[in-house]
Symmetry: C2
DNA sequence: GGCAATGCATGTATGGTTGCAAGTGTTGTA
DNA sequence: TACAACACTTGCAACCATACATGCATTGCC
């Protein structure tokens, strides 16, 4: 691993490793309670709010039958709950329980706190330049599909 | 997702998602052939060179018996091979096959190429500031354990 | 009302990972 | 040479994710 990358691509790869470490650490605490596939269901659920079984299965690219049983475990763990849709009695709505929401929030907060802690080691002006540069990078990276992250279970 | 994060932590989180997307895309092609746990064995193997079964199992935090059977599948797939250690006939050395090395290299190259492509959308001076900022961040992030990435299977 | 379509759950089966315990062969040592 | 330690493999067992086909209840439409 280079100490002083000579080009921006090397520097980016270096940072991507550091950031992946942050993500990994933030998620690892949750993995004591749920599996990674289960956690990613909770994350999707957290972003979407209550949602039908079939739609949620589509979001995580899971087979309906597979997903029904996965959800059995998540519900049994107390992280989410089934309820009948007010629209149709054949539709089943899934929603996070307080425990499920807390699990997701804890990971998010841990991630944010750790990144803040790293940045606080820099001077305010350095932080400004980091922020500006990262925004440049994010814009250059442009659109990406959230779906892609699913292969990592994030 | 904010369009214009007001602080550096938000900008960092934004970039971490973009970088995770890059990592996910680069790895997804390999997942047609091996599982994520299997791929991470190949990555460790690629970095370490030929290594004993037990040492490799430790590196990926796997039980010896578990790992022996996982390696059966990796070897059966043609990505790595067993050989008897010249030092001791009870030691088994694992090494990447050309196919295994190619699989890892392909992912690495894809990742590097994609990051380069993103950066090329910026002007040279912008690239400089991105590189400088990322180095600042990497230094601030400081030491981190490569082991942590294992929870993500990377 | 009858019938097809929809939404979900269940039956059955496969493959992967994991762990504990036991077994086989090798090495080092007393 | 006998015995303990070491390195790896195999037996056994469990759990999770996944998929295809099937079954059941509900809904919408003719």
């Amino acid at each position: 691993m280079k100490q002083h990358p000579t080009n921006a691509a090397d520097a980016t790869l270096l940072v991507s490793r550091a950031l992946l470490g942050v993500v990994a650490r933030s998620v690892s605490s949750a993995l004591e309670f749920v599996t990674l596939p289960q956690f990613r269901v909770l994350v999707v659920l957290s972003a979407s709010g209550p949602i039908r079984m079939g739609a949620l299965a589509d979001r995580v690219h899971a087979n309906q039958s597979t997903f029904s049983r996965s959800m059995d475990k998540i519900v049994a763990g107390g992280w989410a709950e089934r309820s009948t849709s007010p629209d149709s009695r054949r539709e089943v709505l899934i929603s996070l329980t307080p425990a499920g929401r807390a699990l997701v929030d804890e990971v998010t907060e841990r991630r944010h706190a750790e990144i803040s802690a790293i940045l606080e080691r820099l001077t305010p002006s350095e932080q400004d330049s980091v922020r500006a540069a990262l925004e440049l990078f994010a814009i250059a990276a442009g659109e990406y599909s959230v779906e892609e992250l699913l292969v990592l279970g994030i």
